[in-house]
C-alpha cells in the first residue's frame, strides 16, 4: 500500500502538504493555486494530519470561549494566540474568514477525502479543497462527520462509489501509514512545500519556491509574506 510513496519525491515538480485544521495552510491555498496557474504546473497536494497536542499541548474552550481544559505552558499559549491573530489578520485582508475554534479537530477523514478527490482529477481536487476549507473555517462544516465529507465529495463532482469502504478500510490504513512515513522523513508541519527534495515549511518560503520553479533567475530571495500579482510568476 505504501511501497511507492516517498514523502520527498513526486512525479510533479512541487509537493504541498496541507491540513484542513491549519489556518496557515488555508491561507497558503490560493497562492499555491496561483503557482499552478502561472507556472502551468500541477502541484502534488498531500494531506498531513497534524498531531497538535503532541507538540503544542492541548486545550479545549467552553461555549463562552474560556479555557475549560489545558495542559499548555504559558509560552505555548503565547505562541498559539499570536499565531491565530497573525493568521486572522492576513486572512481578513483577503476576505477569508477564520473563526475561533473550541477544540483541536481530527482532520484525518477530510484528508482521506482529499486523497479520494485527488484520484479523480485536478478539478475535483480543487473543488473539494475549496468546499472543505471555507465552510470549515466559518465553522459551518463538521469535518469529522463521514456523511458531511461524502456530501462535499459529491458536490465536488467526485464519484462516491466505494468511498464508504475506502474511508474505513484501505483509505484509512494508507492515510495512517503515510502520516507515519511523512513524520519519519522529517516533515512536521503545514503548509510544507517540497521542491527538488528540499523542505520549505511555511508560506513565507513562496518567494524561494517560485524562484526555484522559475529557474533560479536573479538573486535568491529571502523569506516574505508577499503578494505576487498575476504575471509576476517568472
Amino acid at each position: 500500500m505504501t511501497d511507492s510513496f516517498d514523502p520527498f519525491r513526486s512525479d510533479k515538480p512541487l509537493i504541498l502538504y496541507i491540513d484542513f485544521k491549519s489556518p496557515y495552510a488555508y491561507i497558503a491555498k490560493d497562492p499555491a493555486y496561483a503557482i499552478e496557474d502561472q507556472f502551468g504546473i500541477e502541484i502534488d497536494w498531500r494531506p498531513l494530519t497534524l498531531d497538535i497536542p503532541s507538540y503544542l499541548g492541548s486545550a479545549r474552550l467552553d461555549a463562552q470561549g474560556k479555557v475549560a481544559e489545558s495542559n499548555r505552558t504559558p509560552q505555548q499559549w503565547s505562541g498559539v494566540k499570536y499565531a491565530y491573530r497573525d493568521a486572522r489578520r492576513y486572512a481578513s485582508l483577503h476576505n477569508l474568514t477564520l473563526r475561533g475554534t473550541t477544540k483541536i479537530w481530527d482532520s484525518s477523514l477530510a484528508g482521506i477525502g482529499m486523497e479520494w478527490a485527488k484520484a479523480q482529477g485536478r478539478a475535483i481536487l480543487r473543488s473539494y479543497i475549496d468546499r472543505v476549507y471555507e465552510p470549515f473555517w466559518k465553522r459551518e462544516l463538521d469535518i469529522e462527520d463521514p456523511l458531511v465529507i461524502e456530501s462535499v465529495l459529491a458536490a465536488s463532482g467526485a464519484d462516491l462509489s466505494g468511498f464508504a469502504d475506502y474511508r474505513n478500510g484501505d483509505g484509512r490504513a494508507r492515510h495512517e501509514a503515510r502520516q507515519q512515513q511523512i513524520f519519519d522523513a522529517g516533515i512536521f508541519g503545514v503548509p510544507s512545500f517540497i521542491i527538488d527534495g528540499e523542505l520549505f515549511f511555511g508560506r513565507e518560503h513562496l518567494p524561494r519556491v517560485r524562484w526555484l520553479l522559475g529557474g533560479k533567475r536573479g538573486p535568491a530571495p529571502d523569506i516574505a509574506y508577499q503578494h505576487f500579482g498575476a504575471g509576476s510568476a517568472r
Binding site: A220, A224, Y225
Partner: protein, 216 residues
Amino acid sequence: MSKAPLTEVFGDVPAVYIDFKNPKAYLALRPTFALEDELDIALDWWPVPVTAMSRPQPEQPNEDRGTRHRRIRAGYYERDLHRYASVYGIELADLYRNPDVAVASIGMLWVKERARESLREYVDAVFGRYWQQRLALDDAGAIEALIGEFGVDAAGFRTYASGEGRALLDRTAAALREAGIFDVPAYVVEREIFFGRAHLPMVRWLLTGKAGEPPI
C-alpha cells in the same frame, strides 16, 4: 511593573525590536535597513533581550512523539537559518549561545540617545562582530571601544551601563514583554506586533498607506 497600556509602551513611530544574540534578528538587519532606505524613514530601534534559542536535544531512544517533533522542528529551523543566511553572505556561528546581552543593549541605548545618526553603524557592527565571534556582548570595555569607533563620546558609558542605562533597559524590556514582545525581530506598526522579517512586506504596505494588493 504594572501592565502598561499599549499606547504607552509603543509610541506612534513604527518600531523594530532586536536582540543581538538572536540569529533571526541578525538576518532581519539588511532587509530592515533596506526598507528604511526605500521609504526614507527611521524606525524606532530598541533592544529587548528574549529567551535564547534552545539547542536541539540529541535523538533519544524511546523518545515520545512530542519530543521527537520538537527535535525535528528545531533541526529544520537551524538548517533554515543557514539556508537564508547565505542570501546575505552571512556565516552564522553557533546559533544557541546565550550570552548576557545587557551591556551591548545598553550601548545601543547610549548611541541612540546621543548620536542617533550612528545607531545603524553600531547595530550593524555589534551583530556582525558577534556572529563572527569577534565580540563578546558582555565585555563592557569592548562595547565602550566600539561606541568610540563611530565618533560617539563614550565617556561615562560604564557608569551609565551599571546605573541609568541598566534601569532603562530593564524597564523597557519588562514593559515590552508585558505588551507581548516575546520574540525578535519584532516590528510594531499601528500598535500591531509582527514577529519576523517575513512580515516586512506587510510593514511596507502599512507604512505606504495600504496601497496595492495586501501581502499574503
